[in-house]
Symmetry: C2
Subunit: 231 residues, 2 copies
């Protein structure tokens, strides 16, 4: 009763940055990235085409804001653990699961390194590595490596999720993919690896990659610098 404006999911009420970003996420989720045009968006918001430019500098900022909203939610829900290593795994899985729900996030994360969502992940990883006792030069390298892995996996997964059928055709598709790999150089890909490709679980494989990283970081921290140049 206090606020005379309707709470307006989309059509009515005043426009705001928040409304615009929410509508963008809806459109992204329901129809994919190619469907997010200024025309479609403003139609969805029942407003003029130029209106959104009062709240947002352009399409790039819009996509970055949508991505940050998803990543922020991951940080809010990701379970913290007394073991920093486990927290890092939780964070990585949280990002992975968010990607499954919003595949466009994976593509957007890789597009622009200086965007809020990427900053957020940087600092999150940095804090956890510090808690793990990794500091200084090693922390910088480890953080960058983990970041690169995460973003690479995100982009790959996001690009695949739309193209790999999820039902019973998934196996057939992956068998084709494995066959293509073996055909290219049949001596080189062993049959066991090809079979693993067909039967692997994406989420488990993603986590296996995180664990390889963590093992490498811990091995490096334990043994000191190996052959890479000092300083």
């Amino acid at each position: 009763m206090i606020d005379p404006k309707p709470q307006g999911t989309q059509r009515s009420g005043a426009l705001s940055r928040e409304h615009i970003v929410s509508a963008t996420i809806e459109l992204l989720d329901s129809s994919g990235e190619s469907a997010v045009t200024v025309r479609a968006l403003t139609a969805h918001l029942s407003t003029g085409r130029g209106a959104i430019y009062h709240y947002v500098s352009g399409k790039e900022e819009l996509l970055a804001a949508a991505t940050d909203q998803i990543i922020r939610a991951v940080f809010e829900t990701s379970a913290d653990d007394p073991d920093a290593r486990q927290s890092l795994r939780n964070l990585a899985l949280g990002i992975f699961d968010a990607l499954t729900e919003h595949p466009w996030v994976g593509i957007q994360l890789g597009r622009e390194p200086r965007q809020p969502a990427v900053f957020r992940i940087w600092t999150g990883i940095g804090a956890l590595l510090q808690r793990m006792g990794v500091t200084g030069h090693a922390s910088s390298n480890a953080g960058a490596a983990l970041m690169n892995y995460l973003l690479g996996a995100a982009a790959q997964y996001a690009a695949t999720v739309h193209k790999v059928p999820s039902g019973g055709d998934r196996k057939a598709y992956l068998e084709l993919f494995a066959a293509e790999l073996t055909r290219l150089d049949s001596e080189v890909i062993d049959q066991e690896a090809a079979a693993a490709l067909v039967e692997h679980d994406d989420r488990e494989q993603f986590l296996a990659g995180v664990d390889i990283f963590l093992a490498g970081i811990e091995a490096g921290a334990a043994s000191g610098r190996s052959e890479t140049g000092e300083q």
Copy 2:
């Protein structure tokens, strides 16, 4: 004297897929990805707009073909080493160096997982991991992890290389970036890590990431499975 056609770098002679891809690479290198429009390309080739569609299905295939040409060259020049581990490092560095010369490659690699250049890297990594004695399930996980790292690093680096000044301004830019990271959560990023960010060498950091991976793979192979679910 045998062939009456001029050898035509661009304007004269018959059109061919090879010519078109070469012109695309030239345009990509000289003016960046945004400059590669069908209009600019066909002007460069002094032909009609529709002509290229006789040789190539569209812009996506064109960019994929350009990318594959660069990656193929990396494989041809990358030094093979009796030590498979060292060969893998050489390959990774070869890809990194190609990216420095052709930043658009990094972005293109992340865009589409089912493209020739990506297949090529998959099989290359697979072969070297096998030579390292990593096989079966572990090889599939290790290969995917390394692939994700490589593609993530490629995309990040490609996106940064245009935006970070390379001269004396580089330091100032990175200091700003470091400040932004610390500002976000000043307790959390240690000063040493921030300093490392400013002074790090991209190529060295990239290689450090590869080494973290290799250490993790070797640690995993030595200790067997850790806590990740069996099968």
